[in-house]
Symmetry: D2
Subunit: 341 residues, 4 copies
């Protein structure tokens, strides 16, 4: 059955599989201490314009959020996130499992507001009992957000300023980073992110890899013995070169962005048709995810022919559904979907 | 300086100190395995009408919340609490330190609403992705709440029903339980609480003891090897008989309730004067805490002569202050405060 | 350079890569809820002769040990392991990170002794202070062990009896299970393991897969909401079908055992030559790992031409080195190594 | 029945109870932010000759070990202790509950050997795989040890040097510190300990207080927001002045040392008689604990008349028993015991 359910339903971009087949019999040292990983790291540092960055490869998104947040957040502090943030809602308590509270701010189309963050911190430190409370520590944002929306350069800059004011690291979850970097109208580049955050990651799983997330500590600021911390979280891959090989391929000649652009274009085509045909877009998103508020009937009928993502009930008669494109979305699949709409 | 800042500023009711002095040279076995503890447990079981209850003594409130919640909540679940709940706001992340998320419901005068809890659970299990989320586990309420308000018997019964529906233990934080049991107009007794909850505690620290909280697993349902779990939390007192001795005194002839009634009466006298003189009570509370929304000027002036509790800024020109009475509040202190108002 | 450093230096058995390439564009549901995973689970249940077994797929060994031990061990208990056990020495504290102590027994060629385990438990419960100590909970063994040695059927049966006596789950780490099952002289089958343990895993990473470990709860005894627990550990792979596909291939027609037998045979050839030429085998092992106690000079000279595993210093002039074979070891590589010895 | 079971069977030195009674109605600010705590801290700083020390008060020993070790040990590291150390054996896994492994060295009469610690660290860092292992972090010693023995000044100095060499904080558990400081023949003073360790604590529970341990960060090196960390462990006492009051009394005019000397003297009298009468002292200890290896029969007979501490079975016919004195041991009790021996 046709599926637009998510961006991780298929395997890897063919270029990755080819390279994997070619390297399959090579004897690599373990745990990422190989030349392919070194090459991938060098390419990423260059793409980021961050020659001092420390780059590490992990397997999945929740694992990466858990490992990084635990490593950079003091024991007396929590992580500040949008109430809709992945770390707050969809990670089965992985952050709390490491002993840290998720402190929430109201989201605005999935984003947190720098002024509200500032006010939150000011109120916290003005409270005479603040030492009995969880300190605002790491600030977590995702770009694109859970709703496919994007921060502007002004917003990221303002968040950076608040983080500096209160001594908080800024951590950007880029599980779908490629789709954000190639979205029409965005003014945020990879270099901006490397300049404005303390740590972020470049998502592979949802952008054309089999799996893998590249964590970038932007200014040589990896936590001490980070390899040991990764291992302690059960997150160190024995055949680490598998991760290096995928990112080395994705960052060789712009493949990462090409993949993302392809998916964004497919989503744009679908979005145009939805608008023409009078569908209600739940929010205006420029990336590879489309959210539609549908009559329950319409949703049910459509899903006889195509798998869509279920987001939430809007009310008793309406549902928010998600259409998601990826590296593997073909023109034919898009045509087929459009015919169904 | 005169103080109505909190209900734990003074030592213990004199009856406790006398008994402590008398027992001081007795050689007790360690860690609560003594006869005084046994006697106190028997008295508490009787007061609760719960002959099968398991009773344990811990030192403080946060410690008790942390130890109990960690012991009764599965790893895949969190604890549901009011957003204003002590475990959510004022325990420095002690719950998350044990790996559990605090899941919040909006408070209504400090309380959670049974219907909202029911809806929360229904929505949770209706979500196709619920296995990726933190399950609602233990339900946490406090009685009196952070705001000195009380659940009705109907409300507690309704909470019990929702807990049964979704297989969740109901845990009642009774750090100030005495003040609730003796509040004018309440229809909730100690026996009701022992019947309707799975586990609760009888607060000593804030009700006339030097320290100590008596945890009651209401129907022989203490977690396996609970003593070991207490020790693992660093919460096992070597001279455990100190805890037994205090509760044995408090539950000998109704002293616990007498202490609470005394403090409630003092608060009622103050509350009447406040109403007469046109002060704005932030909310209507029947226990030993009074919350007043004051002009910042008035608050500042008062605090030159009496220590009050600061709760929060109401707006730019108003502050919520707390007046709190205890076992040690004297008629003279009340008169003095009234003269200042 | 030639390498006999470990059994995870190369990619996957070609049959796996071929199948991956064929399935790459298929749209699978996420997180292991796909048909390939179902097929792999069915094959594993059948191979185990355990129709009621719950099978789950994780990515790596440390992750699997951490997730399983945390899930099956009560908070008041630890995991009992050989002092040389992987969980005790080489997992960067991943077990303790979940709050559990590793309780150690002396190893005998990497194994624990059932009689010593029995005595340990008897002594524990005979101690009047045992409630102040960490209870022996889960019993952890690996098969093959860190030293490539194997339990006999009698030993496993005896361990099972001790576990039953003290109510402890028996967990077998099978990161290299294939090599054990196909070792000459072993009397332990996969069905024995499924019958005698509560939970074990079938290692993929070190036995011909790119990555992946198949956890088998042998009698329908998976912990409640185990998927959520996996996610909470950051261990849930988005493209879970990648794991299912690899195990479905490995358990289709006996490939898993063929791979292991191939590596064992290569190791046997090398071992024979070592013996002929007077090398000192550190211990007698029948699987794919060979441990040699070498003059430091000899070790240094060899390593100019071939990468070996360093195990430990034996004394000031001798070193224990490891030779390790795998699915990818060729006859030519073995010849080349033999020429160097 | 007569008891020499432990040093925490009775209440507090009468001077403490008197002062408590006198202060009982005073209104103190909460959580240790009061003047009595300040006074006690000043006295302790002066006794330590450490004007920059940060002093904190906690309730019990396991709690203190847990809170301090968790605060000063990095996530990638464990705490090194004697295999007989309290943190390794008798704290129900409280250290591991915070995510840290206890790394053990063999004990020598309860002590660790500086040269062995050095070798342990050297071997650790010489291992090519050390990043996959738990780093030696905090070094934990107790003084007196579990067996009542004492470090010499040379030994403590040597431990300090090893700690400096490998960047490890040195933490001294002084649950029975008084008995060590006043032992005949010791060359270690409180000032030495304050100079040579990074953090240590002065035990109150076992040296004449109702409860309480005074943690001394010897050179202004308390972890950031340590009050919040204490609260997060559920270890912050509401009526913190109770702790300050006890230590202020103990450190007013040398009472702390007087109490300890009294108990040591009583133990010395008993020890002399034991030697005269041919009992086998398990080891030679100069403090308030006496360990005797007894015929099981003798042990059983004695215990009909006096409660002793059970330590361990020596062999099938012998048991190690403990005689323990304290502030409350009277001459009459000693005479009575001697009559029984």
């Amino acid at each position: 059955m046709l599926s637009f359910e998510n961006d991780y339903c298929c395997g890897a971009h063919p270029a990755i599989l080819e390279r994997l087949a070619a390297a399959n019999a090579t004897q690599f040292p373990g745990y990422g201490s190989d030349e392919v990983c070194e090459s991938a790291k060098a390419r990423i540092r260059e793409a980021c314009g961050a020659p001092d960055a420390d780059v590490w490869f992990l397997v999945g998104g929740t694992q990466t959020n858990q490992t990084v947040i635990d490593a950079v957040t003091p024991a007396y502090a929590g992580v500040v996130a949008a109430d809709t943030g992945h770390v707050n809602v969809h990670e089965a308590g992985a952050i709390e499992a490491t002993g840290h509270k998720v402190l929430t701010l109201p989201h605005h189309d999935g984003k947190i507001d720098p002024a509200e963050l500032d006010r939150y911190c000011a109120t916290f430190y003005a409270d005479g009992n603040y030492e009995h409370m969880v300190f605002p520590g790491t600030v977590y944002v995702s770009h694109p957000t859970e709703y496919g929306t994007l921060y502007t350069l002004d917003e990221l800059t303002a968040l950076r300023e608040v983080c500096d004011r209160y001594g908080m690291p800024l951590f950007l979850d880029g599980a779908r980073l490629g789709y954000g970097l190639t979205a029409p109208g965005t003014d945020v580049t990879l270099r901006d992110i490397a300049r404005l955050t303390d740590v972020f990651y470049i998502g592979g799983t949802k952008v054309g890899a089999l799996f893998g997330e590249a964590v970038v500590f932007t200014h040589g600021n990896a936590p001490r013995h980070f390899l040991t911390l990764i291992k302690r979280h059960g997150a160190l891959l024995a055949k680490g070169w598998l991760l290096g090989l995928q990112f080395d391929t994705l960052f060789d000649g712009g493949l990462y962005l090409d993949i993302a652009r392809h998916a964004n274009d497919a989503a744009a085509r679908i979005r145009d048709v939805l608008r023409e045909r009078g569908y209600t877009l739940t929010m205006d998103t420029p990336t590879n995810q489309i959210f539609i508020t549908m009559d329950n009937d319409v949703a049910a009928r459509l899903q006889e022919h195509v798998r869509l993502g279920f987001m939430e009930k809007a009310d008793d008669t309406h549902t928010v559904m998600r259409i998601c494109t990826s590296w593997s979305t073909t023109d034919e699949q898009v045509d087929e979907l459009i015919a169904l709409l």
